[in-house]
């Protein structure tokens, strides 16, 4: 249906370009308490997700929520956003008791939310997603032109002016979707913006952009609730911190900058965690070449990549989102066909296809857990054994008892919460779902692990466990190829590091020879849209 780009009758209202990114309502008073939660309780069958939460948020502050996977952070913000209804407790919004019966009510009251799990409509355009539910309208027609302009403006403020507003969301890479999801929250007039792990899919420089925007918002008196498992981010952007443990507030309103890490961690976990990477083996214990990649190329994604992984070695790939890392991993795994180059396992060239790769002993934990890895309605144990149930089967009959036992073992090692492996995966918190994705390949029987952002959304404690498990596997002779946006993770866990930029390997060195700044300098100068399918 062809519509005029703009309705002439209202063309004068084109002052969008000068408008601030998000308009704070005129009566915003910095420092006033905008939100107060008392004794909030929310139960799901078998789980008390919130068990008496207290929270106080002031206008103009960045209030951080800390807590382990499954502590109840996402549930809390979903209650605020009108997605869940609390069982009991009070929500006080701008001095008055409030209930948000549905997400629209919360938005109307001035609460905008960036959810942990992407909530975009894949078959709508970027602009349509950004303005979903509050489109610019005149005479019943949607004003696409104005929406596109405003979207472009928000995107360029987010540092991603290159994402076309008319592009279908489906065709964007994961980080691009995250940006759109942020743009959506920023397209509202809001007093409180909630961000649930927005940085989990973002690379270093993009987190910088995000922080710049958060500062602009708070300068206008808008309050921000910020959730992240990365303590350094909380130190950098946060004003006050509230810590949740098992659905309860264990500490409220701690100063974000000055509270010692030890305190934060022990309030989160009830114990202390040495947040360190496992030691590397002292001698050069790595064995023969396991994986050899020669001149691998896919136009627009990566070019002429050669690398090798030896048995017992952890090789890390650092690079921005869009540098071709994930595509490279998927190509090695046979999920994408290379245009040139070969992949060899144990000296034998692999036939194309995932099946051949898996038979040769490869396993891959993909980047996007929901769309690429999980059967959300199926029980945890069936998700953990999705790649291996055939191994436990006899004569084609599955062995559920064995599968449950194996899954339970993994659940214990990775501190899955709750531990009940018969629950559907969709009832797990984001970080716990991620443990299921990675856990799938830790069952043994895999010779080469390809891990794409394995710790995305995983809390500090479980992260340390995961590192231990990966190192222990390497010690048993498993080769690991690790992709991560977190440079410290790559440098801390890997034996050898490859730095990728714009689809090419620009540096290869032992992890000890590189430091974070060197890697960041090498990695910079990339943009999201490169590497995205056209």
């Amino acid at each position: 249906m062809a519509l005029p780009e703009d309705d002439p009758a209202t063309a004068s209202a084109e002052a969008v370009a000068e408008a601030p990114l998000v308009e704070a309502p005129a009566d915003t008073v910095a420092g006033e308490v905008v939100l107060r939660l008392t004794d909030l309780v929310k139960t799901f069958p078998g789980v008390r997700a919130l068990d008496g939460v207290q929270l106080e948020v002031r206008a103009g502050e960045v209030h951080c929520l800390l807590g382990q996977n499954g502590a109840g952070k996402s549930t809390l913000i979903k209650v605020l956003a009108g997605v869940h209804q609390p069982d009991s407790g009070q929500v006080e919004w701008r001095g008055e008791p409030a209930t948000f019966a549905n997400p629209q009510a919360a938005m109307k009251a001035g609460i905008a939310t960036i959810y942990q799990e992407l909530d975009l409509v894949e078959d709508l355009s970027v602009a349509e997603n950004a303005f979903l539910g509050h489109e610019y309208r005149s005479f019943g027609f949607v004003r696409r032109g104005r929406m596109a302009r405003h979207t472009r403006q928000i995107l360029s403020r987010l540092g991603h002016g290159e994402i076309p507003p008319g592009r279908m969301v489906r065709s964007l890479p994961a980080a691009g979707k995250q940006i759109v999801s942020m743009a959506r929250a920023l397209s509202h007039e809001a007093r409180l913006i909630i961000m649930d792990e927005p940085s989990a899919v973002l690379a270093h420089d993009e987190v910088g952009n995000l922080f710049r925007i958060i500062r602009e918002l708070t300068a206008q008196g808008i309050a921000v609730i910020y959730i992240s498992h990365r303590l350094e981010e909380i130190r950098e952007i946060g004003d006050r911190v509230t810590v949740l443990k098992d659905g309860r507030t264990t500490a409220a309103n701690l100063p974000a900058r000055d509270t010692p890490t030890r305190d934060l961690v022990s309030r989160m976990t009830g114990r202390t965690i040495e947040y360190v990477f496992p030691d590397r083996p002292t001698d050069d214990s790595a064995g023969a070449d396991l994986l050899q990649v020669e001149g691998l190329t896919r136009t627009g994604e990566f070019a002429d990549v050669s690398l090798n992984v030896r048995a017992g070695e952890i090789v890390g790939i650092a690079g921005l989102v869009g540098s071709g890392r994930s595509e490279l991993l998927e190509t090695i795994y046979g999920a994408r066909l290379p245009e040139a180059g070969t992949v060899q396992m144990d000296g034998k060239v692999l036939r194309p296809g995932v099946g051949a790769a898996v038979r040769a002993g490869m396993g891959m934990a993909p980047e996007e857990r929901k769309s690429q890895a999980l059967l959300l309605g199926e029980p945890i144990y069936r998700n953990v054994t999705l790649a291996t149930f055939g191994r436990y089967a006899r004569l084609g009959f599955t062995n559920a008892a064995k599968e449950r036992a194996e899954a339970d073992r993994i659940a214990e090692t990775l501190e899955l919460r709750p531990r009940d492996v018969d629950r559907p995966v969709r009832t797990l918190s984001g970080g716990n779902q991620q443990k299921v994705v990675v856990g799938r390949w830790l069952l043994g029987g895999t010779k080469l692990l390809l891990l794409d952002e394995p710790t995305r959304g995983v809390d500090v404690g479980a992260r340390a466990e995961l590192y231990q498990v990966i190192r222990a596997l390497a010690a048993q002779g498993v080769g690991v190829l690790l992709v991560s946006s977190e440079v410290p993770e790559v440098l801390g866990l890997a034996d050898r590091v490859l730095v990728m930029r714009e689809g090419r390997v620009v540096r290869e060195a032992a992890a000890g020879e590189l430091d974070e700044n060197t890697v960041l300098d090498l990695v910079m100068a990339g943009s999201l849209m490169e590497g995205a399918p056209a």
């Binding site: 519509l3 997605v83 997400p103 894949e122 979903l132 489109e135 890895a373 059967l375 009959f397």
Partner: protein, 375 residues
Amino acid sequence: MSDATPTPTATPERPQLPAQSPPVDPAETAVAGNKAGSGGKLSWWRGDGGDGAKRNLGLIGVLAALIVVGAITKPDLYGDPNWVWNNVLAILQLASVVGVVTVGMTFVIIGGGIDLSVGAIVALAGVWCTTVATQSYGAGGMIFAALAVGICVGLVNGVLISYGRLVPFIATLAMLVAARGLAASISNKQTQVSSSTFINDIAARKVIGIPILVYILGAVVLAGWVVLNRTTFGRRTIAVGGNPEAARLAGINVRRHTMLLYALSGLCCGIAAIMLTSQATSAQAAMANLYELDAIAAAIIGGTLLSGGRGTIVGSLLGVIIFATITNLFAINGLSIEAQNMVKGGIIVAAVLVQQFQFKSVTRLLARNRVTTAT
């Protein structure tokens, strides 16, 4: 009746609903209510396939209600235990042929596809096994021919869909037309009488008072249940239908499995063809007309999700039996087939509405989108 095709959700391509789930993960809430049992604010009948048992209890409730209706309208008949037993057998016999087809259909739908060609495959297999040439090989030859034709046509469907990348709706629609055409040309549009007493006896005889057709249905249902719930084939089916990308990245050969699912459906059609031929002691190109609709409808009211990844064999069986009971109810009350079809249509819609309750929040979101997409 073809426009009674089950409701908007019968989209041939997998509807993308779950993928675009909004922040309100709808099924999340559904599961919540479902597990909560009495305490939850959602009721038991919103249970999903994982807790298919609860849903099946609902279907048994519907069945009980139908029996009560029968007992009220014909109290004299229902007062006679002998008549009731025979009526139960009659209903099961009525359900048997479609039931076998529905088992195959359930697999295909759980695997994320749809098979519109089942009725046509039954007809083609029936006609093929009753040609003069085939009948000259005796009953064994006829059975072999029916099963082989079913499997082969199913394989063609499967190859077109998984390797030719045709949308299942289109591929099997084309097969529907083509297979009936082939059946008509083979039979010369004539009714082919089966002269094999072995074949004809299958429908005519009873063992321990129960018709052989009912045993066949029981065996196929049992086999289907075991395969779906206890074998790697079943597990792969759920994975392929639930999240094909995840299945592929876990090393499952999604294409081959999809192909096998259609072959399985074809095999069920071959079995059904023998049963139907035996019932009529003949075969013709127009037989098993609209079985695809009956089978799809039964699977849906049995709780199989049209978007794939979820469904139960027991649910499908109950769906078939409910339809057969309705037919039976109308027959004993001497009511018209038109009224009967209207009731069936109503039941299908009601069943799908129940399913959609789980997606309530998605629908709400989509309703909002409509404003944007409409322009």
